[in-house]
Amino acid sequence: METPEQIRDRLLARFPGAEISVVANPAPAAQHSLLLGHAPAVEIARFLRDDPTLKLDQCSNVTGIDWPEKEIVETTKSTVPDPAGGPPKVVETKIKRIQPGYLEVVYHLYSIALGHGPVILRLRTGNRTDAVTVPSLTPVWRACEFQEREVFDLFGVVLTGHPDLRRILMWDAFKDFPMRRDYVAPDDYEWEPTPHGDVLEKAKRHYPVPPAAAPVAPAAQEAPKA
């Protein structure tokens, strides 16, 4: 099978002006992926499906990933010549930078006809709040239908062009997107006999407030863990 770089080059020749880049995967699996821009994504997908040397006729897996915005501290080292004439000093400058968050949809493509794969496509949203659309690939691969609905349901990615974009796993009146990293689960930690970590913090809210007269909680009651 062609390498992702070769596929990118071929795609760029076929779709001039398209944004396509290769995202390297440092894991031993070395399954590198192609990051596509929004505009011709559906056409590119169709090309990948029908191209005789690739024939990626099966879209195996579709999933979302949430990348919340995070603070990145970049350390740049620069050599500053010592004005006193001594050896040049190495000065570290730390630049704090907010990397904007985005949501990502990942497609794993295989070829049943030729028996190769995977070719991995990635589509990214602009941010996590108002620009959360990516084009849907369901018109190309029917396999994406339910899985894209799931991405919409759990991550809140709006897949434009999907024929039936509704919640699939949660109920329709549900408002949150639970697979996002910043989702706050409803508070039902009334009975947590073995809490630790986050659960302990949540369970503590339900511990009986010791009466003012007795500032020390009786031993019989839940003793919050130190």
Partner: protein, 217 residues
Amino acid sequence: MSDNPSAPTPGITQQERDELRRQGILLTSIQELYTWGSSHSVWPLNFGLACCAIEMIAASMAKFDIARFGSEVFRPSPRQADLLIVSGTVTKKMAPQVVRLWDQMPEPKYCIAMGACAISGGPFKQGYNVLKGIDRYIPVDIYIPGCPPRPEALLHGLVQLQEKIRGFKLTGPDAPRHLRADLPCDYPVPEFGAHDLEPPANPDVWKAPVLVRNEKA
């Protein structure tokens, strides 16, 4: 069922029997017939939720054969069922349907929470869509821990339930739930809310106890 008053009947002590004799021989006989019939003919609802359902099916299969207890009649319609075996994780999306099924069953009805998930949410209890125990909405008679419990454990639970039914009285505090005026007979079905079920628990049925840790240093 026997005429000999000294014959021990499982679940009924001599003292309780004497108490009932005072209430009247007819009532006692009816009560014994009633508890005997109910305990030997517990028809479960053909209702599986998750992994434990497979073990529930296995319990009705040849090796374990729940039919020996007269309980192989898995009725698909709640109207004819006596026992709701909550066999598996109850998700928040599923909880209203489980409560509705419970409401649709005719009294007297019993509920077994089979497996960790049905009791408390089990290994999935930290999930956002998982109900932490079906007893937040409906009263549970027998809890069978395990993940999943062996089919024998379910049979053991069923035997425990039969014992419990045999211990019922027609009047007084040992009466079955539907004969007692102080217990609710109506279990409102929770609604789907924007973030969680509303209400998150039925306060008539469930109240979290205060945890007692007998700390001994």
